[in-house]
Amino acid sequence: MTRPLRDVWADTLVEIARVNPDVLVLDADLASSTRADRFADAHPEAFIEMGIAEQGMVGTAVGLATMGFVPWLSSFAIFFTHRAVDQVRMSVAQTHANVKIGAAYAGLQTGFTGMTHTDIQDLAIMRAMPGMTVLAPGDATECAAMVRWATATPGPVYLRLGRESGPDLFDETYRFQPGRVISLREGAEVLLVSTGQQTARCVEAAALLAADGIGAGVLHVPSVKPVDEAGIAEAARGVPLVVTVEEHSILGGLGGLVTEIISARAPRRVERIGIGDTWGESAPGAWLLDRHGLTPGRIAARVRGALAAD
């Protein structure tokens, strides 16, 4: 089991700041949830509390970035992509500011906060912003690599961090490359395309399908933007059915991205699994994943149904 990504995010920044004095963390009063408090404890001089004021925090980060600092922002995803979206748009994305957004509690599993705090539109919103890099790590190893890459690479980055821990996907040989898609399993009948920690559930689903004699491949898309369009199209060409699976709305996120690519470059049937045209709610994470068809068993059942309908 991997460490929760918020822990990995904070611990990695603690390490980076030991050698890079330009790295700062700005927090909008959620440090104890996002784990930015670990950074505050380790590097109090590099931690800037902004109060419950996400819009002001984003703008302040832009000013710090123009002075050569590398500000990482700490809050829940929803408050970046919804409350402060205009600041992210104009002050960050349009100026290509070197601001890094640590978007905690993204996806369905938000610790019983309900729909007010559930961000299942963030990928759709952020990938529509020109110049924004949008990353969704699948496990702790990938998350740490992304934090290091983002810190070292000029330009705005949105890092999608789930709240809960999940299985490990990668070992220490992993190297992050923006845009790259990663094949985790080959299969001739269906290709599961996923991102973030949902990929691990797809790997389990593929194993369930294999037990039924169904060959299911798994393609991990950790970099939603930029993305290797040719790589996705090439992987799709080997199968009659592509199924996108995301802990996100099926409107405009990974499903939208993959459908856009495949409709132009490798036309074939695409099924999208994710949250339908609805909001989140307070409930146990496992219940929410089941409710929206994101557990391995539900994914496998959906694939069987889709193949049977052919």
């Binding site: 000013g63 050569g68 600041q87 002050s91 100026t95």
Partner: protein
Amino acid sequence: MTAQRPVADRADRAELEGLARRARLLVVESVAHAGAGHIGGPLSAMDILVALFFRVLRIRPDEPAWPERDRFILSKGHSAIGLYTVMALRGYFPEEELATFDAAGSRLQGHPDMTRLPGLDASTGSLGQGLSVGVGIALGARRRGLDAHTFVLLGDGELQEGQVWEALPVAARYGLGNLTAIVDRNGMQQYGWPLPTGEANRGNRRDPWSGVDLPAVFEAIGWRVLEINGHDFDQILGACEAARAAGPGSVPTAILAETVKGRGLSFTEGASEWHSRVATAEEALAARLELGDGTP
């Protein structure tokens, strides 16, 4: 509190006034040439902009990214043409380039775009965002040990944006004496609240902060407040000097500058319709007659 510092001499004052007249005319003519743009806000802020760029800001127009420069953010980004005209007169780019305002491919966008025009310290336009960026620059300058001062020019209407009220207490909490907010209090906004019958005001709309003691509000949040006439160069320069003297470890300064929207032309002063009107050929001629060609 008011602050006064006399300008150096009559010639100094005449130069500043001549520059402001010239810049106001360029605003009217550039907007007329583009067929779009704002007049009222750029004209109300013009004396402040001229004072900043010609006397206050430590800047190098031929080296716009000079690391030790003072920073300036036009948070009321719709007054962009006012900033562009002053930057042109100050030597950031040729005056002729003002003719490209709003044109396809121009560096002089309808709202300031720092990725296109060197010398801009922020991109602004969606109101309320500039002061937060200024907070970040001031924090960063202090961390870098730079003596640079950051000035942010806001509109009084713009103060209605919530983000401003996120930046104000943070700047005070961190003691950003190297940050100054100048509020262009022209008393009007694009549409505003209708003026009830019998109620007096500077224009034909109610003041954006009617009934609110704005200086007291700023002071209560922890800012030092200087109230000035935003068309009096002595007062503008004195306030800016006093603000800079605060030093990086003190309280931030708010200069609340009383101004007249559309200042400088008889037919634009206090007229809400000139918020974003384009001068006709006759009006442009009238502007030239009133303002002269700008030569002292």
